[in-house]
Symmetry: C2
DNA sequence: TTGTATGCGTTATCAG
DNA sequence: CTGATAACGCATACAA
């Protein structure tokens, strides 16, 4: 079933059918004839032929490090929600945390494969930069501020600052910190900076020896919480840079009968699914991951419409979710 | 840069270049010339033109009810892992739990859009059946046994049976059950059946009044656990049909100081991410979600290669993960 | 407003 | 083994 068949059946030219499908530069009489035939036959234009002509695929490539992550699946939910309404589809590329896959997909997607790319990367290197610069389609990043392309990121500094302030306002004075190394800008650097700045702004000395770091996992929280608890001057609250780390800390404290928040308060950042279901429910901050997906979709669509639009950096806010752990 | 340009530069015909790219029915001499030119220019064939000719898109449509679900993201991880090695891409369609979207995508994907569809549906209705039957591309289902197309599903009956047996072997005698309604075959019917059959096989009377149902959420677990605990003949173990339900039950028990597993044991099914991090860690069963994705990808690829291949039903096994909640 | 003719970049056919 | 050439299904410039 092609456009020509429809034209024949409706007694018009193929061009008329094409116009009916697109601009609509057509008389009412023919419009109605064509409509009837299309309805009867259930005809649908061939995407490939359209693509070959128009050079548009109506596809957005989404490159992710892994799919089974709470924040990432929320972002994708946002992207798909926005794109569903715009007649675009998601082409998903899972790099499985392999840096080379990321570069590979970036290259693969270039050749008239997708109209634009949303990159959810952990780190953007010089190599990324080189490849992205060479692409003919727009690319945007989510989850990290990038200087040479538009990006959407979260207010890590602000959230950490606000959370620290919340802790102080509840009367906690001796704060411990469990974070990650500073090669991770967003979590390792910005969140710690927010924590420290807030302390200093409130005239509370920042104690470097109460700042412990480890990986992005529960063991980090568990082990470093143990260390913190064995110090002569125990902290009365523990600020964890991520919910996962906080989970580990809570686990340690529960296991050792150290009452939360009576003996020591705990908080995380990120509002993971688990945060609300543990005992006690964890105080954390929501980063609006889904919204960042929605905005990312809008952003790439805008870039496709208008390739010359300027580089944007959109910082999303946060919301402190206070539960019973502080 | 088209195939014609390459042909000109290499001093051969476009057909020769095409053959070089495909069958390879070509002399060594020309092969080398073409190779050199392609390497120099970095030429890559146009996917759209290829698709228009070959009627193949090298795309697999994956229809899911929602993305931010643990089991579903694991399945997708499996699919993408398998497809990455096969030069196929994933076209993701998120129905957001909207039944009509599911039917819409099923239809949309038909027109030379994708080469095959993997459907991760919650329920397959007569309407699904009608549409799927009318499609010209293969469709398989994951997560549910379907009779008219190939499908991959989990051993819900067996897992429930085995878990119940485990409970009995640990000495628990008065088992309560919190599940979901029977419109859900896998969870609502099969798991309950496994539970009941096991009891009967061990000569333990099945008490209908200790079987409570509700939705797929924590509230169900919380509320029904409360009911169970207020019965005159309290159960000494609670079998929850899903981990999420179990989370709610554990929450209630912890909140009311009812010691797990001393006073009452709790178990779930599904091995969600949260299961291992709560206190006490939850005993559950792993369903090998990722593997079902891998197998699903293999299955749809096989169907594409060989459309006449018979309808298959693959049931994946399970593994009981015993933790401290029983 | 309408129709005709052309080309998008490939692959497949077929005669050499 | 090779090279013209005809589709594939559509959108658009142009002439009417």
């Amino acid at each position: 079933m092609t456009i020509a068949d429809i034209a024949k059946m409706a007694g018009v030219s193929p061009a008329a059918v094409s116009r009916y499908l697109n601009d609509g530069y057509i008389s009412d009489e023919k419009r109605e004839k064509i409509r009837a035939v299309i309805e009867k036959t259930g005809y649908v234009p061939s995407r490939q032929a359209q693509q070959l002509r128009t050079k548009r695929t109506k596809l957005i490539g989404v490159i992710i490090p892994k799919i089974d992550s709470y924040s990432i699946s929320c972002i994708i939910a946002g992207i798909s929600e926005q794109l569903n309404g715009e007649d675009y589809q998601i082409l998903l590329a899972n790099t499985d945390n392999d840096y080379n896959n990321e570069l590979k997909f970036l290259r693969t997607f270039n050749q008239d494969f997708v109209d634009g790319i949303i990159l959810i990367a952990t780190t953007v290197t010089g190599e990324h930069r080189k490849i992205i610069k060479s692409l003919k389609i727009p690319v945007i990043a989510i989850g990290q501020k990038v200087d040479f392309i538009s990006s959407i990121y979260h207010d890590d500094y602000g959230a950490a600052y606000a959370m620290t302030e919340r802790l102080l306002s509840k009367g906690y004075k001796k704060l411990g910190y469990i974070g990650v190394p500073d090669w991770d800008i967003a979590v390792g650097v910005d969140r710690l900076r927010g924590f420290r700045d807030c302390l200093e702004d409130h005239g509370i000395p920042f104690e470097q020896d109460k700042v412990l770091t480890g990986m992005f996992n529960m063991d980090n929280g568990y082990d470093n919480c143990k260390k913190l608890m064995s110090m002569k001057k125990r902290p009365d609250a523990i600020f964890c840079a991520t919910d996962t780390i906080a989970l580990g800390a809570v686990h340690y404290l529960n296991e050792h009968g150290i009452k939360i928040p009576d003996k020591v308060a705990v908080c995380g950042l990120g509002n993971g699914k688990t945060a609300g279901v543990i005992d006690p429910p964890l105080t954390t901050a929501d980063y609006f991951y889904k919204e960042s997906g929605v905005e990312g979709a809008k952003m790439i669509l805008e870039k496709i419409e208008n390739p010359k639009s300027p580089v944007l950096s959109l910082m999303l806010g946060f919301e402190i979710i206070e539960r019973r752990s502080i």
